[in-house]
């Protein structure tokens, strides 16, 4: 029964091939997008941390996004 399911009545290579290509492409795009997002978040958090304490305070007060990114990366930096 399992062999029947895998062979898909001799169309297995085509069916599994199509699903595998879709899965690989989707996983690659997800991984690449996540990696780029994390890279920019890390760089942004590092740049804020490199500011003088006074400027850093101003940035955090004026930008909700900066404070959110910083809080999510405070543990790693």
């Amino acid at each position: 029964m399992i062999l029947n399911f895998l062979s898909m009545n001799n169309y297995g290579l085509f069916v599994w091939g199509s699903f595998a290509i879709t899965f690989i492409a989707c996983s690659f795009l997800y991984y690449k997008t996540l990696k780029t997002l994390k890279k920019y978040e890390r760089e942004f958090a590092r740049e804020i941390n490199e500011l003088s304490s006074e400027r850093k305070k101003v940035v955090i007060e004026n930008s909700k996004i900066a404070s959110q990114v910083l809080s999510s990366f405070s543990k790693t930096i």
Partner: protein, 235 residues
């Protein structure tokens, strides 16, 4: 109303939505794959090769819908000059390109057992290939033109010209004699696909739409951070 459109609020909702999609995605994917690969019946003519439809058709729909959205938003950008629109189109384009390529590749794999050939210079297939080239042109302008305003203008023109190709793709199977079968699913009128195949198809489409939303939100979030990073010195 305008407070909602503020980048900080958008950023907050993006984080919430990403979390929500992540929490339901894998369960829905498992359900959709079970229907597509196990519960749906084989076709009386094509046998089990019909299951390729469950990735091929949603990929083609997403490729077409993404480009239509990009083109309509580019027209809006030309009229209203809202910078946020460009962030959206830039985030959609890679998703659309990937699904257009997937539609071409899975269509080619489906073509071998069904038509006996991997490729034919058929109206539907050729017009889909042209769509992929428009996507490549759109993405390349943002990648290789450093002047942002110029890149936005050129990419908008590419998207608007590319919009002409969308009805050509849609009606190519009606206008010309092609190997590709005519549409089985119609928004107006009766669909010729049985509900036992329509349900898994719509489920797979929904799951892939969720995936697209997830990638779009992550890309959009990256674009917002890029802007905030640039503006850091001004704060």
């Amino acid at each position: 109303m305008f407070k909602i459109l503020n980048l900080s609020n958008i950023f907050y909702w993006i984080e919430k939505l990403i979390g929500f999609i992540n929490s339901i995605f894998f369960i829905l994917l498992l359900v959709a794959l079970s229907f597509a690969l196990i519960f749906s019946p084989p076709d009386y003519l094509q046998g089990d090769s019909v299951r390729i439809m469950y990735v091929h058709v949603p990929s083609a729909w997403i490729g077409l819908a993404s480009f239509s959205s990009i083109a309509i938003l580019s027209i809006a950008h030309f009229i209203f000059k809202i910078k946020n629109i460009k962030l959206i189109t830039k985030s959609i384009a890679p998703i659309g390109l990937m699904f257009t390529c997937l539609a071409l590749v899975t269509g080619s794999i489906w073509g071998q057992p069904t038509w006996g050939t991997w490729w034919a210079w058929d109206a539907r297939i050729t017009s889909m290939l042209i769509l992929a080239l428009f996507y490549i042109g759109f993405i390349s302008t943002h990648k290789f033109i450093t002047n942002e305003n110029k890149a936005n203008k050129i990419s908008s023109i590419i998207a608007i010209i590319g919009l002409i190709n969308i009805p050509i793709i849609k009606y190519s199977v009606d206008w010309w004699n092609t190997l590709h079968q005519p549409a089985s699913i119609r928004l107006t009128g009766e669909s010729s696909i049985h509900s036992s195949m329509l349900m898994p198809l719509l489920l797979m489409f929904f799951v892939l739409i969720l995936y697209c939303a997830l990638i779009f939100l992550m890309k959009y979030k990256t674009e917002i951070i890029k802007i905030k990073k640039k503006n850091l010195k001004r704060l």
